[in-house]
Subunit: 199 residues, 2 copies
DNA sequence: GTCTATACGAAGATAGAC
DNA sequence: GTCTATCTTCGTATAGAC
């Protein structure tokens, strides 16, 4: 059994954190070492393929963390609550960093032209998030195609809102997107029954 | 009167194009010179503050190009049509680059922690796009607050969809987001009148 | 496994000739 | 204005000692 807080995992976590703030190109090995406290000589021992490998694993890790949070929030089978929890997480990230940090998976996508493997990890992460949310909508009676569209909209809009929030240094974009997505979800899972004639 | 295709403007355009593909950190002066054909000795003549200044102007330029396209599409006062035109533009960018290019303004936001001025340009661009779209919705009878929320959702979702599309190398995210946004817009501008009793 | 030292290249920025 | 040459810094990656 392996302890999950060994040096290697700590480096991956540090890399994910720094990539979130500075991007892939803006994060050097020295930065990761300083942040993680890992010894310099152990980089190529743990990551033989160098930075490309570290970025890949950091992207995969970041994707999994979000997926786990999303899955937990979806336990209650209430898509609206999951949406709120998901958005609240991002708002915490933004506020906790004074709007300096965003999503590592987005960063890996944008700067992943030099390492296709990192971009593939990013693609897998987005697909997983969409799948989780679409599944919850389907369990609440939304048909497959619509559930997929809504899930893609939710993931895209939230990730986009995080970008807008960073640029404008305000949580307002995230709140507006949250409001619209919640109402849309509510409408989708609630069959449009004409108002009955009262009691 | 100044010709708009002089060396300086060409460098700005090249920078915007390259940033869209490789990000800010991934775009060097040498890249911009090779792409624009500008002479090496003229960099610090045209941009005394160096790369930071070039990135700022490229971000501003990219924001204006999109804003102009959006304003043109909104001429007809049909928000749905504008939405389609806006999305079609991004789909063309993605397909034309084999999903290697995205939005320079997003790139400037993510890597703009080293140059606050570039991020401010990005924030201004996003705000302008939102404002344009919200204005069109208001002219179609949507109340201010709702128009703002819908506009933020649209900008965030489309920018997010461009990121997803790059990662997954597919235009599908953009198409799904387009479908949902169009329906949402249609619902918002069409007052929910209960069906009248016939002709 | 981890260390120090270093190779090697590329980046941004500057200086001085033309 | 534009050129070439160069300075300085910093990045990844490697080599060899412990």
């Amino acid at each position: 059994m392996r302890v999950i807080t060994d040096a290697r995992d700590q480096m991956i976590r540090s890399a994910a954190t720094l990539i979130r703030e500075r991007g892939v190109e803006g994060t050097s090995f020295s930065d990761v070492l300083a942040h993680s406290g890992a010894p310099r000589g152990s980089i190529y021992h743990h990551f033989p393929r160098g930075k490309a490998q570290l970025v890949e694993e950091a992207t995969r890790y970041a994707g999994e963390v979000v997926a786990k949070g999303l899955a937990r929030a979806l336990d209650g089978d209430d898509p609206g609550a999951a949406l709120r929890a998901f958005i609240a997480t991002w708002e915490a990230v933004l506020r906790g960093s004074d709007f300096e940090a965003g999503c590592s998976v987005v960063a890996a996508t944008l700067e992943g032209d030099r390492s296709p493997a990192a971009r593939e990890q990013a693609a897998a992460a987005f697909a997983r998030w969409e799948e989780l949310y679409a599944g919850a909508l389907q369990r609440r009676g939304v048909v497959t195609d619509r559930a997929r569209s809504l899930a893609t909209l939710a993931v895209a809009a939230i990730e986009g809102a995080v970008v807008l929030a960073r640029a404008q240094r305000s949580a307002e974009p995230l709140r507006r997107v949250a409001r619209e997505l919640e109402e849309l979800t509510l409408t989708a899972v609630t069959p449009t029954t004409p108002p009955s004639g009262g009691p």
